[in-house]
């Protein structure tokens, strides 16, 4: 009985910690540790309940002229993309060009990844966007198209 209680508590702690870290391979790229790197643009926006049509969090990293970092981001996106509920991806010349990944999530906290790698088009620039909120795929696509 003691062992069962102990195991349940440890599992609870691990689950809570994992949730707090979002559990995604791309999560580290939104940390401030990339803030000081040249040609990197980081955005972190938390919205309050009543704004932006259900969007709660917007995080992005945009990397120019840094193929090493861009490739790391691409590998992380590819890994997280394997567990996506739904995805729309496009490859150019064998290289991941565009990705829209729906990662699922609880009601009110659905998560999406948007990835754009312009290298196949001759521009060394990669952008990764993470969106979380109470919005479905169509709402996210509308948000993108209307911006």
């Amino acid at each position: 009985m003691k062992k069962k209680i102990f195991c349940i508590l440890i599992l609870n702690l691990v689950t809570l910690l994992a949730k707090a870290q979002e559990g995604l391979n791309i999560a580290p790229f939104f940390s401030d540790s990339y803030a000081g790197i040249p040609n990197v643009t980081l955005v972190s926006m938390n919205y309050d309940k009543n704004s932006q049509r259900g969007m709660k969090k917007y995080k992005s990293i945009s990397v120019a002229d840094n193929s090493e970092l861009a490739d790391k981001i691409k590998r992380a996106v590819t890994k997280d993309g394997t567990s996506a509920v739904n995805k729309e991806v496009s490859y150019v010349g064998g290289d991941l060009y565009f990705g829209f990944y729906s990662l699922g999530g609880e009601k009110g906290s659905k998560r999406y990844l948007l990835f754009l790698n312009r290298r196949p088009k001759g521009i060394e620039k990669t952008t990764l966007i993470f969106i979380e909120g109470d919005l479905d795929e169509n709402a996210v696509k509308s948000l993108i198209k209307e911006s």
Partner: protein, 147 residues
Amino acid sequence: MDKNHIHRLIARYFEAETSVEEEHLLLKMLLRSRDEDPLVDEALAVMGYTRLAPSQKNKTLWLKKKFIIPAAAVVLIFSTAVFWFAANHNGTKYKCYAYMDGIRIENQAEIASLIKSQLNEVAGAGLSIEKGISDDLEDMRQALNGL
């Protein structure tokens, strides 16, 4: 004390036919006759065990109530606090910020403009993919019509 009477009582005790008063009487008789008869010693040993076992159980229950359950509650509260802290304090006291080439931006209008331009770029890529798909489908339709 009549040895037969004691043996009859012992037999009834082992058959679980004795009342509480008879058990008390039997215990007194056994304690007076200790080491005189192996059956008496056996019955004494068993009675001693049954008296000890409930209090051992009580001791375990006491330990559970006094230490294990409060410890479990502390771990649960601690893990909830860790989750809340991690969810609400992710490295900066501001909820909206951006970094461009290492320079921190907290002006919401500038950040909103950054977000808009990023979403525009992604939208552009998405649209060009959709156009590519439409063009391909149109080519196939024309090919089919030509058959």
